[in-house]
Symmetry: C2
Subunit: 238 residues, 2 copies
């Protein structure tokens, strides 16, 4: 908000240059709390496709996403898969207060994490009123988003779903170019879009083509989408 950078005497070095220092959960932490975290946290990098957590495995710790995109998914016994969310920086990954992970997490792009051991974060949550409050707000917002997505999965047609996912990604990652168009570098391929939307790859592809034919978007290569008419895309999204 304010343009002046206040001196923060004891903020750990590792946090000072951190891209998410003023976002996500770290936003509400003071120097003392950050020091407690920084003493035990460590940064890791992960290539696209790397598994970061596995459904029903023990929870070893938590991690702030500091760069990249993470896919959250669940699978049915016979292998059918559903993406249940995407996490972008500066979201916190990991299920508090549960000893086993309710879902799988996988790096969708190159990902950088700030890993926090389980007991350290839980201790901090227990001690910091502000952090608990922040995580509660985050959980409630995630819940709203999950329920919104339930409408997409339960009631929207294939085009509407594809338009919805493009809007979702645009909201989190979109940058405007010179002409006011919104440009996206999709963090996920068609297969993941299909798993997120409850469709097949072929149907996603067909609906992308359709939106392209209608002039709402254009596509460069496979991963880059330009949204020409965000209004039209919104209308198309149900």
């Amino acid at each position: 908000m304010d343009t002046l950078v206040k001196p923060e005497p004891t903020v750990p070095m590792a946090c000072r240059s951190c891209r998410v220092r003023h976002g996500g959960m770290c936003e509400v932490l003071g120097p003392v709390e950050l020091a407690r975290l920084a003493a035990c946290s460590r940064r890791t990098r992960h290539g696209s496709g790397e598994a970061l957590a596995v459904e029903s495995d023990a929870v070893h710790g938590y991690a702030n996403v500091t760069r990249g995109t993470v896919k959250l998914s669940r699978v049915l016994r016979d292998g059918r898969q559903q993406l249940v969310g995407l996490q972008f920086a500066p979201d916190l990954m990991g299920r508090l207060f549960s000893s086993e992970s309710p879902l799988s997490a996988e790096a969708a792009t190159e990902v950088e994490l700030c890993r926090i051991p389980r007991d350290v974060l839980e201790g901090l949550v227990a001690d910091s009123e502000g952090l608990k409050q922040r995580l509660l707000e985050q959980a409630l917002q995630d819940l709203d988003e999950a329920r919104e997505w339930m409408v997409t999965l339960g009631r929207k047609s294939a085009v509407e779903r594809v338009a919805s996912v493009l809007l979702l990604i645009a909201t989190r990652m979109g940058g405007r170019d010179a002409h006011g168009n919104i440009t996206l570098d999709l963090p996920i391929g068609r297969a993941d879009m299909a798993d997120f939307l409850g469709l097949t790859i072929e149907t996603v592809s067909r609906q992308m083509s359709r939106l392209r034919r209608e002039g709402v978007i254009s596509v460069q290569g496979h991963r880059c989408v330009v949204i020409h008419d965000i209004e039209a895309l919104g209308a198309r999204s149900g």
Copy 2:
């Protein structure tokens, strides 16, 4: 847990006989906090179908469900509807920290609420560490459930969805009869089941008939379902 009822000197009268006194959020409150609540809360009853909150309306307050079942839903601009959750006693209704309701709530059955004004609950949350913790746990669990339902909506076939909703209701409301069968009084009709499952009324009805033909369940009247083989129902649910 324990069979002895401990004397609780200053627990308000209204709470002493309350069905949910030892469940939901009230479980973690001490006499002082309960007194603060009881001083401002009031009980209301609502007939089936009555609107309890409307999407994007101002949030006036919160309410504990003390009896009955509440449907949570969202609608698309053109009227398509999706149920995004069911609330049973002793769940807390209402979206904390938001000035407008992200969804609509409607009594599915006769419902009894313990209504709490907005500022009273928010004040209590600010003051009570334990309550904030409890609500965070609840939000995280609701999030897990919402994501689980996303799998149902995105990846399951019609039979699997119907089996899933029967299991869900059985978990929250089911009673075992003499033969070990589980008996349900469905809190929602076929239309609401359809809206919860992302299907049509006709499809729900056909799949109910199918499960009946297969001997997994039987139906008495429209609302009463007996689950003969919960294992088979689980297998049928994906």
